[in-house]
């Protein structure tokens, strides 16, 4: 019934803490996986919100769960890039008639 509403944030925080405490490559790999899901979520959600729903990026952003506030978004001419610097990046591109596709 409920696709992920809070995918990312808390786990990312936990993983960050683990890393800071000297956690090894496992934690880093896990973190990257989490960050990648977050980047994908933000890119896809915001791309569809802007290009399919016709809203502004500013109006769409608060609809992305707070837990993903660390994931940044860049509006492209034909899509949205979601990224966590040095960790993950995903791009969703818009095509008329087909909406946004995550790449």
């Amino acid at each position: 019934m409920k696709p992920p509403k809070r995918a990312g944030g808390r786990r990312v925080l936990l993983a960050l803490a683990a890393l800071a405490l000297g956690g090894a490559s496992y934690a880093y790999g896990h973190l990257r996986g989490m960050a990648s899901v977050g980047a994908g979520y933000v890119a896809k959600e915001l791309c569809s919100c802007v290009f399919v729903a016709g809203r502004s990026l500013e109006s769409c952003r608060p609809d992305v769960p707070e837990s993903m506030d660390r994931v940044r978004a860049e509006l492209l001419p034909d899509g949205v890039r979601g990224f966590v610097p040095a960790l993950a990046e995903r791009v969703a591109r818009y095509e008329p008639g087909f909406g946004c596709t995550l790449h």
């Binding site: 019934m1 696709p3 509403k5 608060p62 087909f98 596709t101």
Partner: protein, 378 residues
Amino acid sequence: MKIGRTLAGVALVVLFGAAARAATSLPGQPEGVPWPTAEWPQGRPDADPAALTRAAEQLFSDTGRGGLPDTRALLAVQGGRLVLERYAEGFGPDSRFRSWSMAKSVTQALVGILVREGQLSLDAPAPVPAWRAAGDPRAALTLRHLLTMTSGLDNADGDESADSFVARLLFGDLSADSAAGAAQVALVYAPGTHWAYSTATTQIVSGIVARGVGGGRDGVRGFLERELATPLGARSLLVEFDAAGTPLGGGYVFATARDWARLGTLYLRDGVWNGVRILPEGWVDFSRTVAPASNNGVYGAHFWVNGDPTEDQFRPLRQGLEAFEMSGNGGQFVVIVPDRDLVIVRLGEMQRVTWSRLGDELSDLIAAFPARAAAVGP
């Protein structure tokens, strides 16, 4: 006539399985009310005005972090007429809203059309290439198992964390080819015995639909427009795709609130639109009949049913309301209420409001409308 109806009834039982209990008959379009293909006929609600106003106010009272009400669109269609239409500031009749999991019900409609055309069968082995190897236990799975979420596959959505199966599927490492990622899981329960909500399962179904219409994004888009959107006049209906070209039928369909109301009306009217049968006979009853599985009391076939939930399930609407619904993350709802000849559409977010509170508010709204006289079927 009577014999004909009896035979039709027998055929329906054979085709779709017997209903667990007699449900209210689905109301036809009232005489003199035009179908909403071109325009929505408007009307004044036949409802308790104070209760209706109070319920609508409640629904727009929870404000999220962007300063907008969680409810962005609220529509009521009674007796085929649009009797309530309200939007949050910045939204209107032309705004497209995302479905989240209501997309599953749209995917189900596409399956229904392919069944009507004889291209798919509910009880034949589901055509999934990855399951065709000799001795593969998944070869026994049918579309009925998939649509009722009783496949027994190890692909339940899981929690809302980033490493849940659904998050990986839509946004993570499985997102490039969601149908393939969704199908590559083991069978952990005998098919038809255990209910588990799964977006992955709908992605498997989406792959079946895509292949059924000839494959490719153009094929899917063309089929959706030709067979569903155009007949209903739901011109805003749009499905998105993964990078492999599989429609994201598990979670990403967009439409205006008025077009969501058209889709709800199609189901309220038993799959017939202005004299043309879109969904096969008995399909809507299949949709709204609780699927037989020991741990299921509220799920039909890619539609929720306001039944008696088991321990792990949740029923958003108040007990006793006879309704079935499309429902999605963020509190998306298209609620179909046959005994009140009513469709309620609620679209938006759930930043502040909770599922139970939203369910109470929607129940209050529904309860403001009277039941139809003598509408109860056998």
